[in-house]
């Protein structure tokens, strides 16, 4: 059976779309058939991140109105034939689609793909309901900020109410140096509030922004960055592997342990 996973957060700008693109691509590279679905109607940008914008002909709306078949709307990635995108409509309001319709389309996609990843919009209104309607599991994203964590907590409650019990937490844009100076919530702080299993921590990394602008997911880059490794690790954990979490503070720890050793040797 295919896995239908919604990527959601409550708050906007925390990295849902970035994450959907990278996880989708990484899964496809591991030889799974993957469809990524943009459920952010009105503000679509999953196509941009994947560099597929100029190949969109139809969207989910045309599928629903019967103007085209599902296969016609799905955009195949030219770099990675295992990956397909179902684009959202740009010009319609988010209320143009109901959760029932969304479920119908996603269930149809699930028949021929191993993974369906749904990129959800910000908020907890209709767009959110559309995105979660057919999901079996969820990746809850947050950044280590109070407001983002509060919204993620809200979303976890709503997912539970929608009978989505399988949830994993992704903490994005962590800045270890700031955490060490007590200026940013730590992974532990976030986990303590949200109390769902952690599946990945992604460092704040300017390479993410560069890859966003190029329409080229990080996980494709030949000399892979720390953030890229973090995405790959999430995918491996999704598939049941036990992968230790990256030590994002390694550089600092080295320095500290070195200093400590220095002092100890003096005594």
């Amino acid at each position: 059976m295919s896995r239908i996973i919604v990527v959601t957060s409550g708050k906007g700008g925390v990295g849902k779309t970035t994450c959907t693109a990278n996880i989708g691509m990484a899964l496809a590279r591991r030889n799974h058939r993957v469809a990524v679905v943009d459920a952010d109607f009105g503000l679509r940008n999953l196509d941009l991140l994947l560099g597929l914008e100029n190949r969109i002909v139809y969207t989910a709306i045309e599928v629903l109105t019967g103007e085209c078949r599902l296969e016609q709307a799905l955009v195949k990635d030219k770099r990675q034939p295992n990956l397909a995108l179902l684009p959202a409509a740009q010009n319609r309001t988010k209320d143009a689609v109901t959760p029932e319709q969304m479920k119908q389309v996603v269930d149809e996609i699930a028949k021929s793909y191993d993974y369906v990843l749904i990129d959800s919009p910000a908020g907890i209104e209709m767009g959110f309901k559309n995105a979660v309607a057919s999901a079996h599991e969820a990746l809850v994203m947050t950044t280590p900020e109070i407001a983002a964590v509060r919204d993620a907590d809200r979303v976890v409650g709503l997912l539970e109410a929608n009978d989505i019990r399988k949830m994993h937490l992704i903490i994005n844009r962590l800045r270890p140096a700031m955490v060490q100076q007590d200026m940013m919530m730590s992974v532990k702080d976030v986990q303590e509030i949200l109390a769902i299993p952690l599946i990945g921590v992604i460092p704040d990394d300017e390479k993410v922004i560069i890859s966003t602008n190029r329409g080229e997911p990080l996980v494709l880059s030949p000399n892979i960055s720390l953030a890229g490794i973090a995405f790959n690790n999430i995918v491996r954990r999704l598939e049941g592997e036990t992968i230790p979490f990256l030590d994002l503070t390694a550089a600092h720890d080295d320095l500290f342990t070195r200093i400590r050793r220095m002092f100890r040797n003096r005594n």
Binding site: G157, L158, D163, I193
Partner: protein, 261 residues
Amino acid sequence: MTSDSSAPASVSAISPVTADTTAHLQVRFKTESGRLLLLLPPEDATASGWADVLQQLKHRLNSGDRFWQPYTAVHLVARDRLLDVRQLQTIADTLTPYQLQLKRVYTSRRQTAIAAVTIGYSVEQHVPIAHLNPPTEAGQALADPLYLQTTVRSGVEIRHPGTVVILGDVNPGSSVVADGDVIIWGTLRGVAQAGAAGNSRSLIMALRMEPTQIRIATQVARAPETPPTQYYPEVAYVSSEGIRIARASEFSKARLLPQPT
């Protein structure tokens, strides 16, 4: 919150809470001579739209998981709510995974009664007034304690006309409002209100007190600007100078042991 009961928490008075009990009733389970009653809030209660009712029901079921006995018959007390066939079916379906079976429906609405009969539940159209409409005079007894094993998450509000016990954390952005005490076997980070109907002898207890705000009867206290370096189980109570917080160990000693003279 400070652990030192001699250090004042920031205190101010608020306008007395209106003791309008029906206005904030939520979905609630109650056992009565071996039967499990499912009480729905009346139609005019705040936050009692169908979506709210369903969400509260799921939340209560989820948070009481360990206590439900298989094949318990559930008697639905629908009060004056209009429920159609689809809604009654949804309630029954929501109970099923917990092995609870909807058997009987109490209602004061003819349409609800007809809908219930249509899908095969026994119906009583005359509500047993005694345990459904709480007496309006003063001196009203509290409801049985509400025990929930759950994380109370942002956006959720738990209200109960009695004592509330939460086995889990109460997160920022959520609130627990009780006419009796609030006992949190976990961390309190949200808002807690005890004695919401006016009883200033009510208490708020938490293994770890980091509340956004606490209220007891008409008193309000906020957390101090600088968080303490260490946390202990604490009890908040109303003293002559407003809300005080004491370490749980010292609070019970002070109450139970004779004071040294």
